[in-house]
Symmetry: C2
Subunit: 478 residues, 2 copies
């Protein structure tokens, strides 16, 4: 029976992802060292901050091997907002260096320190200590409340269910609320388990979800009749009202794409459960796999290549996706048929925009629809095309309109992109980068970049397109 | 001034198209001979028919060199309808042969004799003599009433205006209500002159026409408020209420295409008057003109060739246009982009369907949109495409839908047409003909048929597309 099989798999997953006591011990010692050091440096400053562990480590919902420790330095709210980062980073840096750790300054919606202490990564984040969620100054101030809420609602059983769900979401690639992914945040995964009661129940329900129709309000802030309106006005593919802030949708960053991938994977998993959903099989891809895929394709692959400056992840990916859409729209506007698109960023910030086209070359002629014969604009249309060197046939009348066959402005995508990329809606830094350096690769030309770390795998999967969790299915039907 | 120029041109046209007295005399002698002979044979039959000249000859609105004599044999209405043709044709044949003429049996909506007597073509048509238009038995019975109505409404001046308008319509290719043309009938041209008062006024008004918006009711049968409804329900690109039958639209056979060509040519003529509108310059087209047009085209020409049995013109062209639309729809359904289409029939009834395509070959891959991830049909979609040899990429999720890249069913138009022509909506005889013999020609292959009389000219103009009356414009702008 499939339900038995699911529980068996869940047990196997738990065996792999539940932190062991030795792992817990090792980490808790390091965390204690960091916290002690943060308290220690307090006397050098005249500020009475407190220290709080938040996030999955605090909630004990983290996965073995992926400990992700977040420590907040909570300042009194009378500190000016713009000095928060200054003090916070200084204190963190001093505390980390005192115990021999290394610091990297990071920036998300707020500045923070990513510290490496005895092989463990610890994020140290300055925030304001506020009395209740409605007193929040910066968005990160909400995190301690989220942590406390989840802790108050879960037990050992639910912690395991949360771990399994997170592993499932990671396995199918929908975990993470950052712009690059636009998937489910850890907090959202936790709330789903709290609401539905278990991993299995989350999947059973998700397999019946419809995007923009799911409304979850754990704390019953709203009446039934208010749902519809909130679904309409709140951003995000579904609405999960934040139990500590009724005006916030915890799923606001979730895209339709990722919600649908989760729905589809849930359905598939319930139908044919497998450990592969949680742990994607390692792919060993040879260059020849990619080149043979490209060869027998019958479509045209066009890649726009540039180099983009180092920026915060969310900023860079916001610009990449915006630019990818913008370039696609430009290409479509000139009649090329885009079958699919993608973007890949190397470790050295080489940015690849990939397009698969029905044809990268179009006939030199295009049929251009002019005004109706009854229009005021007929004279100027005829004046423009009669005797123009770009006119190939006509002008002539088809039904009620003037038509002309004219020379196409761009019969190759590559000419179009070179000439007009600046007309596309692009991210600021992408526009600057393309203006400085733009290379256009077609078909097999792309193969020379296969040595860039991770590109072979990206390209292979982008061409294959089938999600890994469907690949095991193949055998079944063949 | 342009008005002066127009009147000057009208005078030149009239000088060419007004029948001379010697031409009139010659024809009237022949017509008299035919009529006398028709009366003469009456005594061989026990039927008391009368003879009436109808049509443009009777109205004196015919053009020099194009006399088109219609003689009706009007039978009493008590003759059975199905014997009308039998008696009529027999009487006509006997009368024509008595005076040494030749007979050809023809069939339109009714059977008739096309006679050739002393070099003149005379159509002899059997019909019923009815007391008023509402007593009509066969549609041709209406013709004598049309003739009498027009005669009662025109004078010498209007006859000239009608001749000029007819010549203009013939010159630009919109004259004739037969299915092949779907243009303006002679009667419609006459009514337009009667209504607007002159050739010039017809053109001035026509240049402001909009298809499906023009309502002309010379005899004021209808009230203002009834117009809208009649425009909606009466077939035809415009409505001209028949002065002798308020339920009939004289323009019911007029297509939007031909109405618009007339509108556009009217506008052009008023702007830049020229004799060319009335008398298209003779084209001397060499084979090389056609082949060089084809070569530098950049599109693909595909021609479907068959041979069709001899049938009445209206029947054959009804089937040709229906089949042309049907084949176009079939081609479009399989993703090929049709830029334009045409049909040509040789004197030996070789039928050519011509298509100009953006590409006669498409990539082997097509992107196929499957069900939304939330659909009941997902399972059968996945089952169909997972591991199918036609699946090239995916299935994968794009936004909220399952997608697959699959092998295209037909990547050439020619394979598609050979395999599926019978699925297209075709005329009965066209389907039979194609089933017996179908040849598909591509690009330059068509050149081997250039020797068929008239095909060179058809093909050249079909490729050029610009109406001849716009070609003189070219010089102006170059």
């Amino acid at each position: 029976m499939s339900e038995e099989r699911i529980f068996e798999i869940v047990r196997q997953v738990l065996a792999k992802i539940t932190p062991t006591s030795s792992e817990r011990e090792r980490i808790s010692l390091i965390v204690k060292k960091v916290i002690d050091s943060l308290h220690e440096v307090k006397k050098d400053y005249g500020i009475d901050y407190s220290i709080e562990i938040v996030g999955s480590y605090a909630k004990d919902t983290w996965l073995s091997g992926e400990a992700d420790v977040d420590i907040f330095i909570l300042f009194p709210p009378d500190i000016p907002e713009d000095s928060l980062g200054y003090y916070g980073l200084m204190i963190a840096r001093q505390a980390v260096e005192r115990i021999g750790g290394k610091c990297f300054e990071r920036y998300a919606t707020h500045p923070y320190i990513e510290a490496e202490v005895s092989g463990l990564t610890v994020d140290i984040v300055p925030a304001f200590k506020v009395a209740s969620p409605d007193k929040i100054i910066s968005p990160v101030d909400r995190t301690p409340f989220h942590t406390r809420y989840v802790i108050s609602r879960i037990n050992e059983k639910l912690k395991s269910e949360i771990r399994v769900l997170k592993r499932f979401m990671k396995g199918i690639g929908v975990y993470g609320a950052e712009i690059k992914v636009q998937g489910f945040s850890g907090y959202l995964a936790e709330l789903l388990v709290i609401y539905y009661g278990s991993f299995y129940e989350v999947l059973k329900n998700a397999s019946k979800w419809t995007p923009r129709r799911v409304f979850i309000d754990i704390e019953h802030f709203y009446k039934e009749r208010e749902k519809k309106k909130l679904l309409r006005i709140m951003p995000g593919a579904m609405v999960v009202i934040d139990p500590i802030d009724k005006n916030r949708n915890v799923a606001s960053a979730l895209s339709i794409q990722k919600m649908c991938e989760f729905i589809a994977a849930s359905r598939e998993f319930l139908k044919t459960p497998s450990l592969d959903f949680f742990f994607p099989p390692k792919q060993f891809i040879a260059k020849e796999n990619v080149s043979s895929l490209l060869e027998k394709r019958g479509t045209d692959i066009v890649v726009v290549l540039t180099k983009i400056p180092k920026l915060a992840e969310d900023i860079i990916w916001g610009q990449i996706y915006k630019s990818l859409d913008g370039l696609e729209r430009l290409i479509k506007r000139f009649d090329f048929k885009v079958l699919s698109k993608g973007a890949w960023l190397s470790e050295e910030n080489d940015l690849f925009f990939l397009f698969e086209l029905e044809n990268a070359e179009l006939p030199t002629i295009e049929k251009h629809y002019g005004p109706p014969v009854t229009s005021k604009n007929v004279d100027s249309f005829l004046e423009k095309y009669l005797g123009s060197p770009d006119t190939i046939s006509g002008p002539y009348i088809e039904n009620d309109r003037w038509i002309v066959f004219r020379k196409r402005k761009y019969s190759t995508v590559s000419d179009l992109l070179k000439d007009r990329f600046h007309e596309a809606r692009l991210g600021k830094h992408v526009l600057e980068s393309l203006s400085k350096k733009m290379e256009i690769l077609q078909g097999a030309e792309i193969l020379k970049y296969l040595d860039k770390k991770g590109f072979k795998e990206y390209l292979y999967n982008w061409l294959i397109k089938k999600p890994h969790w469907l690949r095991h299915e193949k055998a079944k039907f063949e």
